[in-house]
């Protein structure tokens, strides 16, 4: 099992990263934003696994595990907040959340 060059793996993770980023920047639906955020986080996890695979030690996967934990917790809290927002404003439009500015 070898043959995947590390830089190509990293390039893929970078590509997923920026795709997720585009999602965060473009989508106004809060749920879609959160999903895009998951993509971004997952991309960084991929980068760690790629790097770990290069060095052949477990650190990369452990970092991925931690990222997974974060993603789970963040999604939990994020969705909780989204629910509250929907209950209160009856919309999921991120741009409507601009009462505070200036």
């Amino acid at each position: 099992m070898n043959g995947i060059p590390m830089e190509q793996g990293l390039l893929l993770s970078a590509m997923l990263f920026v795709l997720g980023l585009i999602g965060v920047l473009v989508r106004r639906n809060l749920i879609m934003m959160l999903m895009s955020l998951e993509v971004v986080l997952n991309a960084t996890g991929l980068a760690f696994v790629v790097a770990g695979s290069r060095w052949g030690d477990a650190d990369g996967q452990i970092m991925f595990l931690l990222i997974l934990t974060l993603a789970a917790a963040e999604v939990g809290v994020g969705l909780g907040l989204t629910l509250q927002v929907f209950r209160r404003f009856h919309t999921l439009d991120a741009d409507s959340l601009n009462e505070m500015k200036g």
Binding site: F17, M33, L34, A47, V50, L66, L70, L81, L97, M100
Partner: protein
């Protein structure tokens, strides 16, 4: 390592244990007072257990935590700040509708995250500490569910924080891919072994900087700051402004020194740009701001910029500067937000400038405290803020950073204007929109504000008290 790492980790264990205990307490019976009391006891116990590792420091506790005097000093600072915030929270929430027992629990986990950050010597603890802090903060910011602004603030913070974490992780992954090391010191060895600047490691570090700059609300990653400061409950704002930022800055400095990133000149250029933008931008944004919490938010952007100047200056003085400036900044900021918190009621958050009109005539002591805190933030002599700024100017002039020095001076001038605007508003006669709470109801907050006032003046007049402690930790991180 002469000591069982378990004992060395006692401060962390105590905080985590208290958090679990509070949770179990909630499960048995919801009780507002006891939950807070338990959390307070936990923090105090953790402060006491700091003595255990102190004797044998530095200790490598497990793989992830490196406890030296530097870390222990800031742990003490963060725990004290956390205790103060807890006290403010108690008074702030005690008369409000709803269930507030989760608040001390979340505060404890956030504090635990900050402590881990400070003791961190490894990317894993770096990241997990940061996220532990962040996740707890999302919930804390949005804690008052019935307030639209809190929700908005929490959601903004969550999404932007997620993005910044992603940048941070990407940076770490790039560095890991290049060095195969997650230890700060291992990265330092790698960098030292390289002939010239390694672009991948440099870019990774830059991405980490971008992630941390978000937490530190440095321009151009500062956007969330005013909105979150405004939306969060005042004591939580104090927590974000002090504990969260101090912990991240402490970590940044440690990472910088132990990974040898000072040898990367481009990094310092980037920092100079960020610092300049933060100082000028923060102060300009604060200039005509009428919302006191937003004003303090913008001013905190500038303050972080000042501290970054000290980081850029480097040299032997940087650890000293941090060790003085951060405590000074913490006590002043908690004091300022403490006043906001005391003035806030269940109906209105006291963040409009109009709430402060004529405060001197209604609550003279409170107004005097606020004035003192603002003067300290502005860096007026005889307050602790002045000595802090003095450190920064000393460092900057020592390293001949004339441009940044100029920015600091201009920024301080602008700062004086908007801080004094509040003081002027407080001394004006006239009607106010704020409801007047009777004096003496908020005993915990009053005590905390009194202690902070005393400290700000005392350390401002006689800074040696703190400096002596600082000198003992400066040798540690080389």
């Amino acid at each position: 390592m002469s000591m069982n790492p378990f004992f060395a980790l006692a401060p962390f264990v105590v905080i985590a244990g208290t958090a679990v205990a509070v949770m179990l307490g909630i499960a048995l019976k919801r009780n507002f007072g006891p939950a807070f009391a338990m959390a307070a006891c936990g923090i105090i116990a953790s402060l006491l257990t700091l003595r255990m590792p102190w004797r044998d420091s530095p200790i490598q506790a497990g793989l992830l935590i490196w406890l030296d005097d530097y870390a222990l000093f800031y742990m003490a600072l963060l725990l004290s700040a956390g205790l103060a915030v807890l006290g403010l929270c108690y008074d702030y929430f005690k008369d409000r509708e709803g269930q507030h027992e989760e608040l001390p629990l979340l505060l404890l986990t956030a504090l635990l995250g900050a402590l881990v950050l400070v003791g961190s010597s490894h990317f894993a603890s770096f990241f997990i500490g940061l996220e532990l802090l962040g996740i707890s903060l999302f919930a804390l910011i949005g804690y008052p569910l019935n307030q639209a602004r809190s929700l908005e603030a929490a959601l903004k913070y969550l999404i932007l924080s997620g993005m910044s974490s992603a940048f941070l992780l990407m940076g770490m992954a790039l560095i890991y891919a290049q060095c195969g090391e997650l230890y700060f010191s291992g990265i330092g060895r790698y960098i030292a072994g390289q002939q010239d600047i390694n672009v991948t490691v440099l870019s990774g570090t830059l991405l980490i900087v971008a992630g941390l700059a978000f937490k530190l609300s440095l321009a151009p990653f500062h956007w969330w700051t005013p909105d979150v400061y405004e939306g969060a409950p005042a004591p939580i704002t104090a927590f974000i402004a002090t504990v969260s930022k101090s912990a991240v800055f402490v970590l940044l400095l440690r990472y910088f020194i132990s990974s040898g990133s000072y040898s990367y000149a481009p990094l310092l250029n980037v920092f100079s740009v960020i610092a300049g933008l933060s100082i000028v931008g923060g102060n300009l944004l604060a200039l005509l701001q009428n919302n006191v919490k937003r004003l303090l938010a913008y001013s905190s952007i500038a303050h972080m910029g000042y501290l970054l100047v000290a980081l850029i200056a480097g040299g032997s003085i940087v650890v000293e500067t941090f060790a003085f400036y951060l405590p000074a900044y913490c006590m002043t900021t908690i004091g300022a937000f403490g006043v906001v918190s005391v003035l806030s009621t269940a109906q209105t958050e006291a963040d409009d400038m109009a709430c402060y009109r004529g405060l001197f005539w209604r609550r003279p002591w409170l107004a005097a405290t606020f004035t003192l805190m603002l003067l300290s933030l502005a860096g007026i002599p005889l307050t602790v803020g002045f000595i802090g700024k003095f450190y920064i100017l000393t460092g900057a002039s020592g390293s001949r950073l004339w441009g940044l020095l100029l920015a600091v001076i201009i920024g301080s001038g602008l700062g004086l204007y908007y801080y004094l605007r509040i003081v002027v508003a407080m001394s004006m006669h006239g009607e106010t929109t704020a409801t007047v709470k009777p004096f003496g109801r908020d005993r915990a907050s009053t005590a905390i504000l009194a202690v902070l006032t005393l400290l700000v003046v005392w350390l401002g007049v006689y800074p040696s008290l703190l400096m002596n402690v600082i000198h003992s930790i400066t040798y540690v991180i080389e």
